[in-house]
Structures are given as C-alpha cells and as structure tokens.
Symmetry: C2
C-alpha cells in the first residue's frame, strides 16, 4: 500500500538527500567513506577579500564528480578550549567513495585550477584523510 | 501520478539517506551544518587493543540525539605529502544543526562517560569546529 502520506515522506527525504550540504550524489547505504578535510591559513588573516576569494575558489570544486558531499566552512563559535584549534581561515570537507575517487579529485583540472588561482592566498595547509572504520 | 518506478526510486533514496554513515537523522535541505572533527593520538600508538577500545568508545556517541551524522575513522592510505597529517590514531567527525546541538553533545552523559572511560588512552587531541558558509 502506498499512501499519500508515504509518498510525501519519501519525497521530503529525497529532497533532503540530494541537497545535503552541496552534495552531488546521495551517500550510499552503509558504504564506508573517505573524509578529506583541509584547513587553510591565509597569509593575510585579517583580509575579508582574500577569505572571499578563497571561499569562491573552494566552491568551484563542487563540480568534481567524485565528491559525494562538500562542506566549506569557517571556524564555528564554539567554546574556546585548549584542544580546539580555531586559528585557521577556512576549511573544505568532502567525502569520497574510495581512494580512487580522491585521486581523481587531486588530479582533476578544476582542482589544479583552484590551486593555481588561490595558492598565493594561503601560508599553511593541513590535510587529514580519514577512512571510516 | 505515482508510478511503481517513482516509489522504488524514493524508497531507495530514503534508505540511503537514513543509513548514511551512522546517520541518525537525514541532513536537512540546504541547512548549514556545524562539523565537529576530533583527532586523537594514542599514548600507545602501536597498541591495537587501545585503538579498539577508543573506537568502541567513539561508537557509543552515536546515541546522542543531536548528532546528525557520525564518521569514525583512521588515517586513509592516500598519498603521503608534506601537508597531510596521518600521524593520528583515530578520528570522529560529526555534524550538528547548530551551536546548541554541539553544546548538548558536549554536556551529554554519554559523552562524559566516553571521556571518563577513554581519556587515559590518548596523549593528544585536536578539535576543529567548522560552520558551513
């Protein structure tokens, strides 16, 4: 039996799933993901203009087809604690299905263009690649 | 018109959305999220037993209701590059709807129990809290 209510519920979740963050493809059921999280420290840490340029560059990455979900962030206003590093300027967090998907991203012309256009803006980058267990 | 095909498609995505990682609640449409990413360095970095204890502890956090998605990871075997930090032992990555959801998590008895049970295992923790822009 497929009621109107079930249909509405399914449609709502369909919308939610396809629009998660800047998600391009819904995450697959129970599939282990590779999270690629990069933190950028701008040379000019006080420059709003440089931050905007960096964020605009990061947004171009969304077109790379192996990225399953893309979050572009800035430090959140959570409680300041000794273990919290809120000194970075911006971050990108994306998920891949596997190592190959991450490699496609690294070598992708859009990613290479982002580096060429924006790498003069930052003085430090830290990358964490984590595989779900 | 609701065809059988539409129903199957909706159901498939419904399943995918509710089972993302250890997701408890599907992410909402276009809602900015707070990503809370924690990296742990074990005191006994070579101890598989300590790593298993830490991961088991991290899994208990999934019951905290304000966590929208939980990924527990270990360093992925991506290319070794100077910018990549793969020295940590394990990581937790979770999303919250807002600062309040993160605060509920911080103060939650399950989180406090995890710290009480497992904090003797690690020697270093780094936390990054990022708000989507």
């Amino acid at each position: 039996m497929l009621t109107r209510r079930t249909f509405i519920a399914s449609t709502a979740v369909l919308t939610a799933a396809t629009a998660t963050g800047m998600s391009l493809t819904p995450m697959e059921k129970n599939k282990k993901k590779l999270a690629h999280h990069v933190f950028f420290w701008l040379k000019n840490r006080e420059s709003k203009e440089d931050l905007e340029k960096l964020i605009a560059g990061l947004r171009t990455l969304a077109k790379i087809e192996t990225i399953k979900e893309l979050h572009i962030g800035v430090p959140a206003s959570t409680e300041v604690r000794p273990v919290v590093d809120n000194s970075y300027s911006a971050s990108e967090l994306m998920f891949f299905d596997d190592l190959e998907g991450q490699k496609v991203y690294q070598d992708h012309p859009i990613h290479q263009k982002f580096i060429a256009d924006c790498s003069h803006l930052w003085e430090k980058v830290i990358v964490y690649d984590s595989m779900d267990v």
